[in-house]
Amino acid sequence: MKTIWALLGILFISILIMDIGTVYVTYDKIAGVTEQSLDSAIIAGVRPSDARIGETFVDKASAVNAATTVFRNNLKLNAALENSIMKNTSFIVSIINNADKPYVQGEVSTVVTALSPKLFGLNGIPIRVRKNQFQVSSYK
């Protein structure tokens, strides 16, 4: 009897450790990929002709498009931004075009599929990652 209880306990603990690991790894991955995609948002959004005359304007449509594409490719997501682990994902890119320090902000919220929340009838653990990327312009 004791052995079976111990086995059950070990199973429970390993599920818990696995879930924490999954959430941590996903968070880490999303943070890195968001940084890369915000970088490409700036590259796609700034026109070279503008940059040459010192203009710091970021075109919203192409920036958001490029960021979403890079984000999707790097995390291998489908068109609805989902894969086997990340469900119900939203990736919001906002461009703050103030005069001296323009920056791009990306906010990812997703639900990580895990085993332990299913005991309570939930689908997964929701996480949210937010990153800012300042536009570096080397115009003098």
């Binding site: 004791k2 052995t3 070990i10 796609a44 890079v70």
Partner: protein, 138 residues
């Protein structure tokens, strides 16, 4: 809850001389597997760090060439993986600003916890990241 635990520990029904050895075996196996999972994760992480640093360099220079390869191999060697076991494919130089550049790096991890059973399993570890080239070419 505390009383239930105490009862479980104190209880002697169904106890045999084999209980402790079996428990030890199970705990050892779980811990040994944990070591391997950590090893795979750490190989993954090292590869990802090096690949992401190299991608930043590639974005500035619009692609991959022999200098970038040297840079990548030095980074890999610093993290502790052996550069000979890492295979890389990447977009070569010559793309225009705004084009996608991709870096794929892969290595193999040998599972150690199954060595007592005289069996080797090799787990492939693969990383693929992409970004946009930065330099404008006239």
């Amino acid at each position: 809850l505390y009383n239930i635990f105490r009862k479980l520990i104190r209880e002697q029904r169904g106890e045999s001389i084999l209980t402790l050895p079996i428990l030890m075996l199970i705990i050892c196996m779980v811990m040994y597997m944990g070591v391997d999972i950590l090893g795979i994760y750490s190989a993954h992480q090292k590869l990802r760090t090096a690949a992401s640093e190299t991608l930043t360099l590639m974005k500035m220079e619009n692609g991959w060439d022999s200098n970038t390869e040297v840079f990548f191999e030095q980074l890999i060697a610093k993290t502790g993986l052996s550069p000979a076991n890492v295979t890389v494919t990447a977009t070569p130089k010559g793309v225009q600003r705004g084009d996608t550049i991709t870096l794929t790096a892969s290595t193999n991890y040998e599972v150690r916890s199954l060595k007592p059973l005289n069996r080797t399993i090799i787990v492939p570890v693969e990383i693929e990241i992409s970004g946009l080239a930065q330099e404008f070419k006239r």
